[in-house]
C-alpha cells in the first residue's frame, strides 16, 4: 500500500515537473512554464538589474583584430573605441545584442512570418500575410546583391559575428526575460536577419499604396468628382525641393493603365501602412544662426514601442568619432553626427507598391497572360511552424510583377522592397558616419536603395544639403495610383531614376533645407510620382525658418516641440464665421474663438476643434463617407477640404445628397457643430482624449508604459510635435556644427531592453517634458566621466 502510494506520488511529482517546465495554452489563455519562469536560479528573478551594480569584464574573439574598449556611461550608452572599422562593428553587434536581443529577434520574426512559431495559431494569419507580401523573399534577394561586394560585406559580417558572440556565450539564466516568459531560445544571427530588419523598415516606410481604394473611388464617383475630391498636388505646399530640377532622365515609353473594375474590390489580406508615420528634418546655414555655423535637426515619427526602435551609440576609431542612434540589427549610425558632419532622414513617402490585376490562362491559376503569351507562375512554398501544431504550408504564386498578394482579386504586387539592390545599400549608415564633407557623404550614401528617405546634411565647413535619396521608380503619368492591368509589361515601371536626377539641393540661397514628408517637388519635376504626403508640417518649418535669423540650439528644440496647427488656423475661422450663433451655447464658441491653434496637452479647444473638423469633413464628403461601410475608399485629405473652404463656399459638394433640400456651407457647419456638441467625449483635455501609451513589443501591459493624467502629452500628427496616442517623435536630435559639434538628443524609452532594468524607460519623462540629453563626442575611453562598467574585447589566437 505504502509502495503504491509512493509510486503514485512520484508520478504526480513527475507530472508536476512536466507541467511547470513547459508552456501551455489552456482555453486560449497562454500559460508560461511557471517553474522555469519563477525559480530563483534561472528564472525571471535573474533578470533584475540595479542602477549601479555592474561588473566590467573582458572577452576574446577570433573575429576581432585589435583591442576594443566599450565604456557604458551613466545613461547606459555604449562608447566603442576600436582600432579599425570592422572591430568597431563587431562591438556594435555585441552591445546591441547585449541590450536588445529579444527585440532584434522578434523584429526579424515579424517580416519573416515566424511569429506563430512563438505565439501559436493566433498569429498564423499575420505570418501568412507577411509571407504573401514576400518579405522573406525580399531579404533573400537583398543578401544576394550584398554578397556581390565581398570587401564591404566583411563589415556586416563582422557586425553579425559580434551579435553571435553575445548569443553563443549566453546561459539560460541570462536570456532576456521575454524568452523565459514565452519559453523559447535565441537563435543565431545572420546577414539575412539584418536584411529582414531593413525590409521591415521598408514595409513601414515604403508600404503606402491606396491602389484599390483609389480605383474604387474612381468607379464610384466618375472621373470629374474623383479629380476634385482626390487632387494630386496641394498648391499651398512648400515641397522638399522647390527646383530647379534635372531634366527627364529618359524618354518615356509604354503607358499607364487602369484595370477596368467589374466590381468594387474589397481585398482581404492587403497590408496597410500605419497612419502617423512621418518625420521632420531641417538644416540651417550659418547665415541664419547665432554661431555662424550650421544647425541640423531631425525627429523621426514612428510607432513608439518599448524597447525603443532606436539605440544610442558612440563609435570611435582612429579615422572618425561618431554618435547618434542605430536602427537595431543594421551596422552604422542612422541619425547622428561625427567630428565634422551631421545627418538625418525623413520618409519620402512615394508610392512604391503597385498592384497589377492578373489574367489567368487556366483555372488552376498556374499560368497567366503576359505580353501576348502565357507565362508560368513560380511557386514559393512557405513552411510556417506553428507552436503546438506542427507545420502549415502556404504556396505563394510569383508572377513577373511579384507575388500574388490577394488571391481573391488576383492582385500581384510590384514593390521596391523585392528588388535585388545593385549597390552596397548595407554600407549606407556605416560609410555615412565616416564621411568628412558633403562630397564624401553624397558618394557614401548614393547606393541606398529603399525605403527612400530625405537625407539632410550639415557640416562645420558651413555646407548644408538635402537629397531625396533612394530608388525612385520611373513611371508614366498616373501610373501606380490605381490598380493596373497586369497582362502587359508596358504598364510596368521603366527603371529607376538615376541618383543624380533625384530632387536635391546644396547650399540654397534661402539659407535652409527641410523636409517633413511633404511632396518632394512641385509638379514641374519631370518624373511622375504619387504617394502619401503630409500637408502641414513642412509648411510650418518653412514659415519659421524663412525669415529667422540668429537661430540657436534652444530655438531648434522649441521648434521640435511646436504644437501650432496650420490646419486649424486655415479651417476654423471659416467654420466659426458661418455658424448660426443663435443655435449654440456661447462657452463652446468662445472656447474655439479664443483658441491659439496649439495642440497643448491641457487644451480643451484643441479637442473640440478636432472633433468638430472631423464631423465637418464627414458631413461635407458624404459622397464618400456614405459608402465607406460597404466599399474600401480613401479618405479625402483635409487640405482639399481647406482649399474648398477658401475658394468655393458655393460648391455643390456642400449639398448632402441623401436629403431633398440643398444644403449650404453654413448648413454643414451647423450640422457639424450639433454633432460635436452631442459627443460626450468633448469635455476632456486634449491629452486625456489621446490615451497615450508606449506599448511593449508584444503588447504586454506589464512591460508597457501608459501615460497617466499626471503625465500630460501635447502634440498632433499635423504639428511639428507629432505625438499622437502611440505614434510620435521617436528620437529628437539637434546638432550645432561648430568646430567641435554640440549636440542634444532624446528618445522615449531607455537603452536597456530589459523591463526589469532601471534603464528600460528612464528617458520617457525627460522626453515627454521636452528635455534633451547632451551628446558629447570623445576620442578615448578615459574621457567618459561617469562609467557604469566596461567591456574589453581582444583578439583570440
Amino acid at each position: 500500500m505504502r509502495r503504491v502510494a509512493g509510486i503514485l506520488f512520484l508520478i504526480i511529482g513527475i507530472g508536476l515537473v512536466y507541467f511547470l517546465n513547459n508552456s501551455w495554452n489552456i482555453k486560449d489563455t497562454p500559460l508560461p512554464p511557471f517553474g522555469k519562469l519563477l525559480n530563483p536560479f534561472s528564472g525571471i528573478w535573474q533578470n533584475s538589474e540595479s542602477a549601479t551594480d555592474f561588473e566590467s569584464y573582458n572577452l576574446k574573439s577570433i573575429h576581432v583584430k585589435e583591442n576594443i574598449k566599450v565604456v557604458f556611461d551613466d545613461r547606459m550608452v555604449p562608447h566603442i573605441y576600436a582600432q579599425n572599422l570592422q572591430d568597431a562593428l563587431f562591438a556594435q553587434g555585441y552591445v546591441e545584442a547585449y541590450h536588445r536581443l529579444f527585440q532584434m529577434d522578434i523584429s526579424t520574426r515579424s517580416p519573416d512570418g515566424k511569429l506563430s512559431e512563438i505565439f501559436g495559431e493566433n498569429l498564423l494569419n499575420y505570418d501568412k500575410t507577411q509571407r504573401r507580401l514576400g518579405l522573406g523573399y525580399a531579404a533573400d534577394n537583398a543578401i544576394k546583391g550584398w554578397a556581390k561586394h565581398p570587401e564591404e560585406f566583411k563589415n556586416i559580417q563582422s557586425y553579425v559575428q559580434g551579435v553571435n558572440h553575445y548569443i553563443h556565450n549566453l546561459s539560460q539564466k541570462d536570456f532576456p526575460l521575454e524568452y523565459k516568459l514565452l519559453d523559447f531560445e535565441p537563435s543565431e544571427w545572420s546577414v539575412r536577419h539584418s536584411a529582414l530588419l531593413l525590409k521591415a523598415m521598408t514595409q513601414t516606410l515604403a508600404g503606402y499604396e491606396e491602389d484599390v481604394e483609389m480605383s474604387n473611388a474612381l468607379k464610384l464617383l466618375g472621373p470629374e468628382d474623383f479629380k476634385a475630391i482626390y487632387p494630386e498636388y496641394n498648391p499651398k505646399d512648400n515641397p522638399v525641393i522647390q527646383g530647379p530640377y534635372a531634366a527627364l532622365s529618359q524618354e518615356m515609353t509604354g503607358k499607364s493603365s487602369l484595370a477596368k473594375l467589374e466590381y468594387f474590390l474589397n481585398p482581404t489580406n492587403r497590408p496597410k501602412s500605419p497612419e502617423g508615420i512621418g518625420s521632420n528634418n531641417w538644416a540651417v546655414s550659418g547665415s541664419k544662426t547665432k554661431t555662424g555655423k550650421p544647425l541640423l535637426a531631425n525627429d523621426p515619427h514612428l510607432g513608439l514601442s518599448l524597447p525603443s526602435v532606436w539605440y544610442e551609440i558612440a563609435i570611435t576609431t582612429p579615422e572618425f568619432s561618431a554618435r547618434g542612434v542605430t536602427l537595431l540589427g543594421m551596422p552604422g549610425i542612422m541619425i547622428g553626427f561625427n567630428q565634422n558632419i551631421a545627418w538625418g532622414e525623413t520618409n519620402v513617402g512615394h508610392d512604391m507598391m503597385d498592384y497589377y490585376k492578373i489574367k489567368w490562362a487556366n483555372s488552376e491559376k498556374m499560368q497567366y497572360y503576359f505580353d501576348g503569351k502565357t507565362k508560368d507562375v513560380d511557386l514559393r512554398i512557405e513552411s510556417i511552424k506553428v507552436k503546438g501544431q506542427g507545420t502549415v504550408k502556404d504556396t505563394v504564386r510569383y508572377t513577373a510583377w511579384g507575388p500574388i498578394v490577394d488571391d481573391k482579386n488576383s492582385l500581384a504586387l510590384r514593390w521596391i522592397a523585392h528588388d535585388e539592390a545593385p549597390g552596397k545599400e548595407f554600407m549606407t549608415f556605416v560609410s555615412g558616419m565616416t564621411s568628412n564633407n558633403y562630397d564624401e557623404y553624397l558618394a557614401n550614401t548614393s547606393e541606398f536603395y529603399a525605403p527612400a528617405q530625405n537625407f539632410v546634411y550639415a557640416d562645420n565647413s558651413g555646407e548644408i544639403g538635402l537629397r531625396v535619396n533612394g530608388s525612385i521608380p520611373i513611371k508614366n503619368q498616373g501610373q501606380g495610383r490605381l490598380t493596373s492591368d497586369g497582362d502587359s509589361s508596358i504598364f510596368g515601371w521603366k527603371g529607376i531614376v538615376p541618383r543624380d536626377h533625384n530632387p536635391q539641393e546644396r547650399n540654397p540661397t534661402k539659407g535652409y533645407v527641410t523636409s517633413a514628408n511633404q511632396w518632394s517637388t512641385t509638379p514641374e519635376y519631370p518624373n511622375y510620382y504619387n504617394g502619401s504626403f503630409e500637408p502641414f508640417r513642412g509648411r510650418m518649418i518653412n514659415r519659421i525658418l524663412r525669415d529667422a535669423k540668429g537661430l540657436t540650439i534652444e530655438e531648434m528644440q522649441e521648434m521640435q516641440q511646436s504644437t501650432y496647427s496650420i490646419e486649424a488656423e486655415e479651417s476654423l475661422p471659416h467654420i466659426l464665421a458661418a455658424l448660426d450663433s443663435s443655435m449654440f451655447s456661447l462657452p463652446e464658441i468662445d472656447l474655439l474663438q479664443s483658441w491659439d491653434y496649439n495642440y497643448t496637452a491641457d487644451s480643451k479647444a484643441a479637442l473640440l476643434y478636432n472633433v468638430l473638423f472631423k464631423n465637418f469633413q464627414k458631413a461635407l464628403w458624404d459622397e464618400v463617407y456614405n459608402h465607406m461601410d460597404s466599399i474600401a475608399l480613401p479618405l479625402p485629405d483635409s487640405w482639399v477640404t481647406i482649399l474648398l473652404l477658401e475658394e468655393n463656399k458655393e460648391s455643390n459638394y456642400f449639398d448632402i445628397l441623401s436629403t431633398p433640400e440643398k444644403e449650404t456651407f453654413s448648413d454643414i457647419c451647423n450640422l457639424a457643430m450639433s454633432m460635436t456638441l452631442k459627443d460626450s467625449t468633448i469635455h476632456h483635455t486634449w491629452s486625456e482624449s489621446k490615451n497615450a501609451s508606449i506599448p511593449h513589443l508584444i503588447r504586454l501591459p506589464a512591460f508597457s508604459h501608459t501615460f497617466t493624467e499626471n503625465e500630460p502629452i501635447s502634440g498632433h500628427k499635423y504639428v511639428l510635435n507629432a505625438m499622437q496616442s502611440t505614434f510620435g517623435p521617436s528620437w529628437r536630435m539637434v546638432v550645432s556644427l561648430e568646430d567641435n559639434p554640440t549636440a542634444y538628443g532624446i528618445y522615449p524609452g531607455g537603452q536597456s531592453g530589459n523591463p526589469a532594468s532601471p534603464f528600460y524607460k528612464n528617458m520617457i519623462d525627460k522626453w515627454r517634458t521636452g528635455a534633451y540629453d547632451k551628446l558629447e563626442l570623445s576620442r578615448s575611453a578615459e574621457d567618459i566621466k561617469n562609467v557604469l562598467f566596461k567591456i574589453e574585447i581582444n583578439h583570440e589566437d
Binding site: G13, P40, S42
Partner: protein, 113 residues
C-alpha cells in the same frame, strides 16, 4: 530530521547553480528516501526547505524590479509574488519528498508498529 533539512537546503542551492531548476525534485526524493522520516514529516521538510531557499534566493537576486513585473503578469500584489514562487517550488519539492519517504526506508516506529 535536521540533517535532512541541511542536506536539502545545501544540495539544492549548489545544484541549482549548475543544473536545471527541477533538480530540487530528485534531491528531495533521494534525501527523504535515505532519511527515516514519516511521510508527513518528509513532505513538510521538503516543502519548507525549498520554500526558504527560494524566498531567500529571490530576495538575494531581485533588486526589487522583478516583483512588480511578476505581480502585474500574474495579476497579484507584487509583495505576494515571491511567496507564490516559493510555494510552487515548495509544493513540488514536497510531493517528491513524500514519495521518497514512502518508497524509502521506514522510520523505526513505523517498522516496529
Amino acid at each position: 530530521m535536521k540533517i535532512s533539512i541541511v542536506a536539502i537546503v545545501l544540495l539544492s542551492i549548489l545544484a541549482s547553480f549548475f543544473l536545471p531548476w527541477w533538480v530540487i525534485a530528485p534531491i528531495c526524493f533521494v534525501v527523504t528516501y535515505l532519511a527515516k522520516l514519516k511521510p508527513i514529516q518528509a513532505f513538510l521538510i521538503s516543502f519548507i526547505s525549498i520554500f526558504i531557499v527560494w524566498i531567500c534566493a529571490i530576495y538575494y537576486f531581485d533588486y526589487g524590479s522583478v516583483q512588480p513585473l511578476v505581480g502585474e503578469l500574474l495579476g497579484i500584489p507584487s509583495k505576494l509574488t515571491s511567496i507564490v514562487a516559493a510555494v510552487i517550488g515548495g509544493l513540488m519539492a514536497g510531493v517528491f519528498g513524500l514519495s521518497g519517504s514512502l518508497l524509502g526506508k521506514k522510520p523505526k516506529r513505523f517498522v516496529n508498529g
